[in-house]
Symmetry: C2
Subunit: 413 residues, 2 copies
């Protein structure tokens, strides 16, 4: 069974917006052994949308549309799917009553426009939406199934999970088991080469590597037409081989970010962390504080962008900066020591470098970054020449700093 | 002329990665009056890719593929397009020689695998790639044009700009003029209602509103089949009306981020800035330091996540925190005063709040955030109850803080 996802909305074609919905759907489908071959992003144009649905139904056994189920004239998914499948729409009194009741509970009267959401494509099952007005629709029309979901993630996710469990999952001919492992401190090609050699040939296993600046994800998926245990065994063998091959590089086997994996280790060891950032300008702290509950172990720190702040907040000596420069191993060391002393954190990490595009020189080119980790029993420095633009140098530096903390924590017994 | 974009690569279906390439393409095309109706994301599967190209050519006058031009077996775009258009591929000695020369300059020998990049679809124009190995291809096969671009943005952008100028732009039947204005301090629906009323009816004008947490973009596009001046006039009228309607909300009329617009004003007025962040955890500083050259006016600041740091780095009095709480107008005021005093910045801004999901109470719910701006002549505080999850509360808070700085700077004569 193969899937095609159709995301609806002109704003998705024009705006820098992460389409987390379709990532969510393809991940959940993969867990059931259903692979997504294609995604289409279509503007609010009924013709195009109907055409896209018709084409998708010719290629895939499952077509999922996201969005366009709202009450306004821009919301065209119901009509377009009906047109594509050459089916009538019927007005469903029960749905209107539910929407009206929803508005009543909020002390409001239902706007007339919302009656548009009560039209159902002939033969479709209506999927209740406990957190919004737009119901979903599911059509099982051999050999293809068509699923219409609302756009807001908090409405889409529970609705999709239910229909996946009850309707779509049982149609998959595969038993599936999946696992994601994250590693750091290697280039993508190093990781790729070593992974291929380490895994060897494992039956019933699909492997995908996804690399971002400074972090590599290994997705393992076992699939079996016979038994779930066959899929599970394939993944278990792979997990063991990855663990052995990348023992000192393993960030996490859980579904969590790099920062979350580091914070979890800190919490387990009851240690606190502070940071002193120059060229990353707060991005390391931002990543750490993206994790709910981070305040239990992350104290904060200083963005010492200007050199006077390195001196006044962190106690970096002006002589050090004059002699070695603000971008140097010596300054990085004093920044880390300074922030640890001032905050009383168990572990302090500093970053100072040249993120570009300006500011580089022959001796200190753009992308040169110094790091230092300081604790009661450790002074570790690191120097890296990073590739990429300002943004990827910042991200790569943040992940390198997180990896230094991880290595330090994993190294302590 | 209408366009369809096809982004190639399995990783794009499975990873949370912002597809900046297609946003770039659709923006540049729009500037020439060419609208993108659909985007397809296709995995590394030759059949699917050929099918997608064939279908796209039936609907659009311009089909642009992104990626899949590399040297490995996964890179299938050339073959798939040739198959879709039923054309042969020919091996081009000149291209091989250029690639070989490129490797030579880097002191390396060309791997045999790279010869795959020298295959050209019959009838295609070869587009040189000065910064990478993969050349692009352009086919003008009435009534459709097909353009094959490499995936890395720094290779794609100059190549696309050239072909847009020389080949595609001249085919557009429209004269176009476009302008983006950014406003802040209003909800999307307020902005929408006021904008519609203020603009009234303007011929030859397309208006799109794009909202992100705390910032609203107004895209104005004039289009005329007759004359460029007609398009320009439509935009000029609209710009004037937007300026008058949103005079105190206008962030920028240039193509720049909110942070860049604030930094530009600081630079014009020769003023420096420092920040003290609690719940935003460094995101404000990160946004500011994303802008090249920000170090000229942005000094840095403190991430006072833990209360002890609010005291030790910023001099917030323990009594204030005990009496009013760390999330209070009083603490915010002392944070701003403290960071200004310690850094000597002209302007200091502080943020303290509850980003959730935990930590809320009846009196201080999740989303409650206090802000303070302090300068020699101003003490301005602000209190907001923000909607959304942890991530959008952080972003909305950052944009609110930027807007306070902007309002302060715009208010000073």
């Amino acid at each position: 069974m193969r899937a095609v996802i159709i995301a609806v909305g002109s704003e998705m074609l024009n705006q820098e917006r992460l389409d987390t919905n379709s990532i969510y759907l393809s991940r959940r489908l993969r867990e059931k052994g259903i692979l997504t071959d294609m995604k289409l992003v279509v503007g609010d144009n009924r013709d195009y949308l109907a055409w896209a649905v018709r084409q998708a139904c010719k290629r895939a056994q499952l077509v999922v549309t996201i969005g366009g189920l709202g009450p306004t004239a821009d919301d065209l998914t119901r009509e377009a799917v009906a047109e594509a499948l050459r089916r009538e729409m019927t007005y469903n009194e029960e749905i209107v009553e539910q929407i009206r009741e929803r508005f009543r509970r909020m002390g409001m009267q239902m706007p007339e426009i919302n009656t548009r959401q009560a039209f159902v494509i002939e033969g479709a099952e209506v999927l209740p939406n406990p957190v919004g007005t737009a119901p979903g629709l599911f059509l099982d029309i051999e050999p293809c199934r068509v699923l219409l979901l609302p756009g807001p993630p908090r409405e889409l996710q529970p609705m999709f999970d239910a229909v996946l469990e009850n309707r779509i999952g049982p149609l998959s001919r595969y038993h599936v088991c999946s696992r994601t492992m994250r590693i750091a401190g290697l280039t993508e090609s190093e990781a790729d080469t070593r992974l291929t050699a380490a895994l060897g040939r494992i039956d019933n296993l699909d492997v995908t590597i996804l690399a971002s600046p400074g972090l590599i994800e290994i997705h393992l998926m076992g699939r079996s037409r016979k038994e779930k245990t066959e899929a599970e065994e394939a993944v278990a063998i792979a997990v063991e081989r990855v663990r052995n091959e990348f023992v000192s590089h393993l960030v996490t086997e859980l579904d969590e970010s790099f920062a979350a994996a580091v914070l979890r280790r800190l919490q387990e060891k009851k240690l606190t962390l502070a940071v002193a950032e120059s060229c990353t300008g707060g991005r390391l702290a931002d990543c750490l504080t993206d994790v709910p509950g981070s305040s239990a172990v992350f104290l904060g720190g200083v963005i010492a962008y200007d050199n006077a702040l390195k001196r006044d907040f962190l106690g970096v000596s002006p002589q050090t900066m004059t002699r070695w420069g603000a971008v140097s191993a010596q300054t990085a060391a004093e920044m880390a020591r300074g922030v640890r002393e001032k905050t009383g954190a168990d572990i302090a990490v500093s970053i100072t470098g040249i993120a570009g595009p300006g500011g580089g020189s022959r001796e200190k080119p753009v992308g040169l970054v110094f790091f230092h980790l300081h604790s009661a029993d450790c002074d570790q420095d690191s120097r890296r020449l990073m590739n990429g633009n300002r943004d990827s140098i910042k991200t790569r530096s943040v992940n390198h700093a997180l990896n230094m903390i991880r290595e330090y924590l994993d190294g302590r017994e």
